[in-house]
């Protein structure tokens, strides 16, 4: 009856075998200790059984040697697990420099994915085989969590912040996409599928339909919302110049420093006074309510694409690449 049940989910990313190896190791170590204790309990209970209830046991009160050994040995074993699992964790959260970026928003109760080239999809995510992909996402309402078991990745979608997961698919196929953080009525309906395609098929899929690229959409918004009138590219405007700014460290008016990443740009558009860069007047109005999450992501993508002075603009190629300076640890 149980023979049909797998014990592991499909391994479809480069990280999946790493996580599974760790899982296997921890299972083996813990099973060993569990069996050790269970066997000792069973053997002692049978061997020293007294049916009368009126005998007494041996006058043993303890042993410092034993206490020390069963404190220290488990400690070192758990430190081994800690070390290994931390290494795996850093692989899971540190995306490589060159990734295919895809933006996403979760809301009650669906996932919307926005590809840089302009394609967007709901509850489906098409990705190419063999290429590192980074999904950058937030939530429009409550907490959600983007979870793809076959890739062993998960991160919470938090309103007001960006989170990210990254993976390199290793197997063509369709996989579950779940919301793992409870989010209300249709939490269990906030599911979809990830479709891993051969790179050329993926390329064909990407170019089939779709609107403006995110960069172009961002540029449009940048003009429409009047950002361009203050954020002059040469720095002579009332706001900081934005080319080459992404990924740099800035000093704030209150003396603290901040890394210009997705979350900081988003915050600066919605609540500009919160963390103002030193040397500028608090004159920027809020754009809360005037631009939606997708618009914000497009603006960020546009700002990311602005060249550093003297460098040519990154060609808006299919599947755009992140500047190397992009913050790799993901949103804070």
């Amino acid at each position: 009856m149980l023979s049909g049940i797998p014990l592991f989910p499909e391994q479809a990313s480069t990280l999946a075998p790493e996580v599974d190896a760790l899982y296997f190791f921890v299972t083996a170590v813990t099973a060993f200790f569990a069996l050790l204790v269970v066997m000792a309990v069973v053997i002692f209970a049978i061997k020293y059984r007294d049916r009368t209830g009126d005998r007494v046991g041996a006058p043993i009160i303890g042993s410092i040697g034993l206490e020390l050994s069963w404190t220290i040995i488990p400690f070192f074993i758990s430190m081994a697990i800690f070390g290994w699992s931390t290494v795996v964790f850093f692989h899971l959260v540190r995306a490589p420099d060159q990734t295919l970026e895809i933006y996403s928003t979760g809301k009650q109760w669906m996932w919307r994915f926005q590809h840089i080239d302009g394609q967007s999809e709901i509850n489906e995510l098409h990705v190419p085989l063999g290429r590192p992909v980074k999904v950058i996402f937030t939530s429009e309402d409550v907490l959600h969590s983007l979870y793809i078991p076959a890739f062993r990745v998960k991160a919470d979608a938090i309103p007001g912040r960006y989170s990210s997961v990254w993976f390199t698919p290793t197997k063509v196929g369709e996989y579950h996409l779940f919301c793992a953080e409870y989010c209300g009525t249709k939490h269990s309906g906030m599911i979809g599928r990830v479709v891993v395609m051969e790179p050329n098929e993926h390329q064909a899929w990407l170019s089939g339909g779709g609107g403006l690229s995110m960069q172009a959409r961002g540029e449009q918004l940048f003009q429409q919302l009047g950002c361009a009138s203050c954020h002059l590219p040469d720095g002579s405007g009332r706001g900081p110049a934005l080319p080459g700014r992404f990924g740099t460290q800035e000093t704030l008016a209150n003396g603290a420093t901040v890394t210009v990443n997705d979350t900081y740009i988003r915050e600066s558009i919605l609540t500009p006074q919160m963390r103002l860069v030193a040397g500028y007047q608090p004159v920027m109005p809020t754009f809360q309510g005037q631009v939606n999450e997708e618009g914000l992501m497009s603006l960020i993508e546009y700002i990311k694409s602005l060249p550093t002075a003297g460098q040519p603009a990154a060609a808006p190629q299919a599947g755009g690449t992140a500047p190397a300076a992009a913050v790799q640890s993901g949103p804070r």
Partner: protein, 537 residues
């Protein structure tokens, strides 16, 4: 079998009016009062669990609607966590046994003790009101901004219910702490204290330091809902994740409020039925304190995928591994106590064996979740559900039943059927493993928790789990049957049916209203079984 009425005046028959119970200041009666409310909460919580398990036998969400399902699992957890697991051992067994065990006439503040029960009942009634008006659907964790800004259910009432109940916990903790400091019988030094008392002391510490934080946090949610404060609402500059930090700052230590007292029970029962000193007494005693203190430093292990920095995740992972060590030490000491014992197989000990088996699995699977590299995949899946049920039901509830079977003759003066009690322990152990064992696999396969409907491939394991739950239900029903039966037809227990060493066994069963006719004087450690002049095994 004797059916004679117990002739003596004891705490149960000294006065029998309802008013004499509702106005009692006797710690033993207050323990019984808690037992009645907790039993009611356990019954309600079990009904909701049954609803959840029935729904999950099929992949489609077809037994109840999604909204109903969300209310079922939330109400299950709210009742079980705040009205069963937290009070079950300290408020019932602690109240009943602890003053007896230290040779005191009562707790330090008997009126306050009664007041704590009333506060508990008021909190319970608020939560019942939330239930009657349609329930709550936020999950017992009340995560913001869903709970504060979005949910259309009775979060206000349930939040207030839990907030109020918190004060009962705080006051009980305070009362126990003062009692243990000031009311010990002559000669009852700290290192002669039974380990159950040590465990209650450590628990009181957690109750006093931790509970105010969750009470205030839930109150902030209530304020935010009622007046739009914006503490957790990102649109008003608030931080939804702040709630999780505050919530788990209490709720992780709360796990120790649930598990430390049952651990104390295990120490009592293991020593008694092995007829030996508890192995490594002082290590077991101090490990309780270590758990209580270090338990406050690990809360963020619930936030590994909630956007905390990878470096702080690393520190919290390390500390979570460290806090597992004292629990391991206890388990090894219990096992070592059995070595060269004269082990008397009675029902309480069978429950202890069940506890050790399930707590081992619960504790060791905690290591999986403390591992950062595994937690990313396992977080918010059924693996977590299985893990904490092994700790809370496998640990806390099995430990409670060990204690209840141990002290039942003292509480009621009657013996239950040892054979039935042993069968119940076996039934619960088997049913429990069948219910929650498959959920570990489900979790690793990726089934998220709190899902009303799920993909077809998860069905077989879910059916196994539901089948196990019905065995578990049969086990719990059996306990209720033979214990209630023993009240009418049980054999008289006598003062010390287990031939145990504690002071509580030196007075009659049930004890007189003032516990001891004359204050006992203590001149030896808690578990000097081997000094008895009987045949050495």
């Amino acid at each position: 079998m004797s059916t004679t009425v117990l002739p003596r005046v004891n705490y149960l028959n000294v006065r029998t009016t309802v008013a004499s119970w509702l106005l009692t200041k006797d710690h033993k009666r207050i323990g019984v009062l808690y037992m009645i409310v907790v039993a009611l909460a356990f019954f309600l919580g079990s009904i909701f669990a049954a609803g959840v398990r029935i729904e999950l036998t099929t992949p489609a969400g077809d037994f109840v609607s999604a909204d109903t399902y969300n209310r079922l699992f939330t109400m299950h957890a709210v009742f079980m966590v705040f009205f069963v697991l937290i009070p079950v051992v300290p408020a019932i067994l602690g109240n009943f046994a602890m003053p007896l065990m230290i040779g005191a006439k009562d707790v330090a503040f008997p009126t306050l003790n009664l007041m704590s029960w009333y506060i508990f009942v008021i909190g319970f009634l608020f939560t019942i009101a939330a239930l009657v008006l349609g329930g709550v659907d936020t999950g017992w964790t009340f995560y913001t901004p869903y709970s504060s800004n979005v949910s259309a259910s009775n979060v206000l009432l349930a939040g207030l219910g839990v907030f109020i109940t918190g004060f009962s916990s705080i006051l009980t903790g305070l009362n126990f702490m003062v009692t243990i400091h000031r009311m010990r019988a002559p000669g009852m030094t700290w290192f002669r204290l039974p380990l159950f008392v040590w465990a209650l002391y450590a628990t009181s510490l957690v109750m006093i330091l931790g509970t105010p934080v969750v009470a205030i946090t839930l109150f902030m949610v209530v304020l935010e809902r009622a007046f739009g404060f914006g503490i957790f609402d990102p649109r008003l500059g608030g931080d939804p994740v702040l709630f999780q930090h505050l919530f788990w700052f209490y709720s992780h230590p709360a796990v120790y409020i649930m598990i430390l007292p049952p651990m104390g029970v295990i120490s009592e029962v293991v020593a008694c039925f092995s007829r030996k000193n508890l192995f490594g007494y002082s290590f077991v005693a101090f490990s309780s304190l270590a758990i209580a203190v270090f338990g406050f430093l690990v809360w963020a292990h619930h936030l590994f995928v909630a956007g905390i920095s990878p470096y702080s995740a690393m520190i919290f992972s390390f500390l979570s591994f460290a806090v597992a060590i004292p629990s391991a030490v206890k388990t090894f000491n219990w096992t070592a106590t059995l070595y060269q014992g004269a082990i008397w197989w009675r029902a309480p000990l069978m429950w202890v064996f069940g506890f050790i088996g399930l707590f081992l699995v619960g504790g060791l699977t905690g290591l999986f979740l403390a591992s950062l590299g595994l937690d990313v995949h396992l977080h918010d899946t059924y693996f977590v559900v299985a893990h904490f049920h092994y700790i809370m039901v496998g640990g806390a509830i099995m430990g409670f039943f060990a204690g209840l079977h141990y002290w039942w003759p003292k509480m009621t003066g009657r013996l239950y059927s040892n054979a039935l009690a042993t069968s119940a322990a076996v039934l619960v152990f088997v049913g429990f493993n069948l219910t929650f064992g498959p959920q570990f696999i489900l979790g690793y396969l990726g089934m998220p928790r709190r899902y009303h409907a799920y993909p077809d491939e998860f069905q077989v394991l879910n059916v196994l789990s539901s089948a196990g739950a019905s065995i578990l239900a049969a086990g719990y029903t059996l306990i209720a049957c033979y214990l209630l039966y023993s009240l009418w037809k049980g054999e008289e227990a006598g003062a010390n049916p287990w031939l145990a060493t504690g002071l509580e066994w030196k007075t009659e069963s049930p004890p007189s209203p003032h516990n001891f006719e004359e204050t006992p004087i203590v001149n030896e450690g808690a578990y000097e079984y081997s000094k008895r002049e009987i045949k050495v095994a």
